[in-house]
Amino acid sequence: MRRNHLSILLPLLALCACNSTSFVRVVSVNPPDASVYINGVRVGAGDSRPQKFDFGNNKRVYVQATHPDYQPELEWFDLEKMEHMVDTDTNVKLTLRAR
């Protein structure tokens, strides 16, 4: 009986793990004191920090960085691009241009 339960539960867990739509990538900005926003929400300021990219409710995620002395930057990520970044171990890097 217990073995039967496990045989159902384990593939179910594996399926959930495969269908995960949340990723963690290190986001770095230059200048390092620029503010970082993900999906319009400020997630902090500072250099390299791991951030969560959640595609559960949205098909795309956008990252913005801003600093008073620089041009703001915006980058979009879709699931395909994020999966490729995970596969190639690529992090998110935003470099602002001085005004």
């Binding site: 098909k59 620089y70 005004r99």
Partner: protein, 133 residues
């Protein structure tokens, strides 16, 4: 008879559902590079007169947002966050183009292509025009 009516109604509903244009509700907001609220007008599909007529403004009456339901007849819809100047809670001049918005306000407008399923909060960060203080 009843069955026929039900079948006709179901078919009608199914046709209507297939033919309807999908929509999505978004909340728009804008700040400047100092992360301070920036008064703006939101223009959908380059329809500047409609944006003015419908009062699609953010941060004009105060620090607020604009919630708008946008139809998606195609895969992408272009919106433009156009900066405006506000005096005494009123827009001093309603822009009719990106150039006019840019020239008059001293800030750079931001066009953005939205897709169905994009995040609900659309946050715009507007930079000053180069040469503007």
């Amino acid at each position: 008879m009843n069955t026929n009516r039900l079948l006709s109604l179901s078919l009608l509903l199914a046709t209507a559902a297939c033919g309807s244009i999908p929509t999505q509700q978004f909340t728009f907001d804008a700040v400047d590079t100092n992360e301070q609220p920036r008064p703006c007008m939101l223009v959908v599909n380059d329809d500047w007169p409609a944006a003015a007529e419908k009062g699609q403004y953010v941060n004009v009456a105060g620090d607020d947002t604009l919630t708008l339901t946008i139809p998606f007849p195609s895969a992408e819809v272009e919106v433009t966050m156009a900066p405006v100047i506000v005096e005494n809670g009123k827009v001093t001049r309603v822009p009719k183009s990106r150039k006019e918005a840019r020239d008059y306000s001293g800030f750079v407008d931001e066009p953005r292509r939205l897709m169905l399923g994009d995040p609900k909060l659309q946050w715009f960060i507007l930079a000053r025009k180069s040469g503007s203080s």
